[in-house]
Symmetry: none
DNA sequence: ATAAATCTTACAAATTTCTTAAGAAACTAG
DNA sequence: CTAGTTTCTTAAGAAATTTGTAAGATTTAT
């Protein structure tokens, strides 16, 4: 979940942008001038800034320079003036992109996505949050296929991994044995014992006491669930 | 001095862009379709790509995807179609920016500058930081294609290098054998043994004990990853 | 108490990866 | 162009890991 800071003195526009972004599951913070923007920026962990140029108190270019003093967060400019001079000015003070008003919501979203992606997916090293599921002490990373229990890595063969992934991705939802078989083996359920044994093996690895599971619980007569 | 690859089947436009860029002291390579672009991209050290969407043979989106398989070079799209669908498509396949034709030369230059600056602002003169990957004692320099282990240079033939590059550029991410084959050989996976043997050879060079790899680890039933 | 469901264990089978080596192909230098 | 070197592919047996099965033990619901 990304946090986006929208800076615009026109509350109507800011509100509209907020709606578009929230629809796409972004978290939105709003500021109505540059000073307010800086305050929020200090306080919150902002992943991207949408910045209007014309504003009272401190305008967009000033605010951008301030932010740039100690952050390389992507900053996208918004402006009613569509002159190219502005564009170049904007891009040279450390802005990452530029959108002219009136803008098309789809284009706005596309540029936001693009700039966010650039700063995350190509930055090698840490996995994106989307690929990591953590429930209690159990953490599953779908990029590295690594599972840790209380920060200790455990070995998870393909089938065990797939079962764990299925259950952890839908915490608390109960899956019948047949359902697990079909989803993991990708063929009609055949031998329920197989699933049972795998469940046992997973428990051996993630539970302190496999006989009294804390995470991977049975729901009698129905199936299994990962409790979280 | 930056190398910019201009891909456009309209020679007039490509020529015009070339003039603008050369005026700004950029080095320009021109390609007239996607395939040609890929060839040049492989051969030369390209710092930024200006890519037309509509082209014969291989279009811009296809070429972009190919390039994205093993490079995060900035790619800016050019297009005569100003429909938003195109924009989003472009930005979601790994493009960094989008310019609609007819474009204003100044805007083009501004966007080129902006995208270059973002990716190279830490350049120290010789090798750009982006081109050097270091994980543990293993350092890979993509400019010189040199690899050192604990500061000792090792020999890395083309395929070994490409595999190592792929894995080191995405540390911890697991790649299946087929995936490695497709990305490195650029053709559908054929003989998995080939990959296996190359992995063995790389291990022989970078690992103290190839039988208990510290870096290049297997994830049973899934694939290989470079741990870092 | 009884039947049904789940758990546990151990071992055999299947799969995946490792290692080695030999010949083919590609490249380099003379 | 040729000889020599390096790199790549293929193959096959060995080693390691994972998966399936089955049988008996235990737990739960009625």
């Amino acid at each position: 979940m990304y946090n986006i800071l929208v800076v615009d003195d026109d509350k109507e526009i800011a509100g509209a942008i907020e709606i578009y972004l929230k629809n796409q599951n972004y978290n939105v913070f709003k500021a109505y001038d540059g000073e307010e923007a800086l305050e929020i920026f200090k306080r919150e962990e902002i992943h991207l800034v949408l910045m209007d140029i014309m504003m009272p108190k401190m305008d967009g270019t000033q605010a951008t320079m301030k932010i740039r003093e100690n952050s390389s967060v992507p900053i996208l400019f918004l402006s009613a003036k569509s002159e190219d001079v502005d564009k170049i000015l904007g891009l040279n003070i450390g802005a990452d992109d530029y959108i002219t008003k009136p803008f098309n919501p789809l284009e706005l979203l596309a540029r936001v996505n693009s700039n966010l992606r650039r700063c995350t997916s190509y930055s090698n090293g840490s996995a994106l949050k989307n690929d990591v599921i953590r429930i209690g002490g159990v953490e599953l990373n779908d990029l590295t296929k690594e599972v840790t229990v209380d920060e200790e890595p455990i070995r998870t063969p393909p089938l065990e991994y797939k079962i764990l992934f299925l259950l952890m991705k839908n915490p608390n939802r109960v899956f019948s044995i047949d359902e697990i078989y079909e989803k993991v083996w990708q063929e009609p359920a055949y031998n329920p014992d197989t699933v049972t044994v795998h469940i046992r093996r997973i428990r051996e690895k993630i539970e302190i006491n496999p006989r009294e599971p804390k995470y991977l619980k049975v729901v009698w007569g129905i199936g299994y669930k990962f409790e979280g």
